[in-house]
Symmetry: C2
Subunit: 152 residues, 2 copies
DNA sequence: TATTGTTATACTCTATAACTATA
DNA sequence: TATAGTTATAGAGTATAACAATA
C-alpha cells in the first residue's frame, strides 16, 4: 500500500457523533490514559491503581477494618480479601487482631511498607506531573473540583 | 447500636491523603458514577456504555469494518466479535460483506436500529443532564475540553 | 508477508450468595 | 438478628496468541 493512495475508509476521520459531548465517554477515555500511565510507571513494583488506593487509606487511617477500607474506596468487602492478602504477602501492610471486636482485623502499614510507599509515591507523582503537562496553570485544581462534585 | 454512641473508627472521617489531589483517582470515581448512572438508565434496553459507543460509531460512519470501529474506540478487534454478534442479534446493526475486501464486513445500522437509537439517545441525554446539574453554566464545556487534551 | 474476522484462553475486576465466628 | 471476614462463583471487560481466508 502506498502513502498517497489509501482507501477512503481507512483514511477518513471517524465521526464520533454524540460521544464528543458525552462526559461519561470522555471520562472513560481519560481514565484509560491515566490507568495505562500509572501501570507503566508502577507495574514493575507490583502496584496497580487499586492497590495504591488501599495503601494510601491504610497508611493515613491506621487501624481501620477491611470493611471500612472497602467502603471508603467504594469496593465490596469480599474483594478486599485478595487485595489485603497480596499487600500482606508483600509485607507492606499487616492484619492485627482487633482488641474490641474479635470478628475483625485492624490494618496497619508496616515499617517496610512506609519506606516502600515513599518510593512508590515518587513514581506516582512523576506519572501525575507527566500527564498534567496537558493542563494550563490552575486547571488541575478546577478539574479536581469539578470531578469531586459528582455524588457517590 | 445507638445514634449518639458509635465507635470512633466507624464515625471518624476517612483521610484520603494524596488521593484527594490525584487526577487518576478522581477520574475513576467520577467515571464510576457516570457508569452506574448510565446503567441504571439503559440496562433495561440491554445497552451498556460500551455497546452504546459502538452504536454511535456505526451510525455516524456507515460501512466501517469491525477493526476500524475497534480502533476508533480503543478496543481490541477480538473483543468486537461478541459485541457485533450481540448488536446484530438485537437487530440494531448488520454485517454486510465488503465488496472491496472479501475478508471483512461493512457494518451498518438497521432501520430498526435507528428508531431504537432515537429512544436510547433520549435516555442517555437525560442521564447526562441529571449529572450535569452538579456543574455550573459553562463548566461542562471546560471539563470536556480538558479531558480531550490527554493524549491517547 | 500482512491483514480480517474469529476462536480459545486467560487474567483482572466486580458483584452476589452463603458460610463461620463473633457481636 | 446483625456484622466481619471469608469462600465460591459468575459475569463483565480486556488482552494475547493462533488459525483460515484473503489481500
Amino acid at each position: 500500500m502506498t502513502d498517497d493512495k489509501v482507501s477512503a475508509a481507512e483514511n477518513e476521520q471517524i465521526n464520533f457523533g454524540v460521544l464528543d459531548c458525552l462526559l461519561g465517554y470522555k471520562l472513560r477515555r481519560a481514565q484509560m490514559v491515566f490507568f495505562d500511565s500509572f501501570s507503566a510507571a508502577c507495574s514493575d513494583l507490583g502496584i496497580s491503581p487499586g492497590l495504591f488506593g488501599v495503601l494510601v487509606v491504610v497508611k493515613e487511617n491506621p487501624g481501620l477494618t477491611q470493611t471500612a477500607v472497602a467502603k471508603a474506596l467504594g469496593n465490596d468487602r469480599s474483594a478486599m480479601v485478595a487485595v489485603v492478602d497480596r499487600l500482606e504477602s508483600m509485607e507492606l501492610i499487616e492484619r492485627r487482631p482487633s482488641k474490641k471486636d474479635r470478628r475483625s482485623y485492624a490494618l496497619y502499614m508496616t515499617p517496610h511498607g512506609k519506606t516502600f510507599f515513599n518510593g512508590l509515591l515518587e513514581r506516582v507523582r512523576a506519572h501525575e506531573d507527566e500527564l498534567c503537562q496537558y493542563l494550563e496553570s490552575g486547571e488541575k485544581k478546577q478539574l479536581l473540583d469539578m470531578l469531586d462534585r459528582f455524588p457517590r
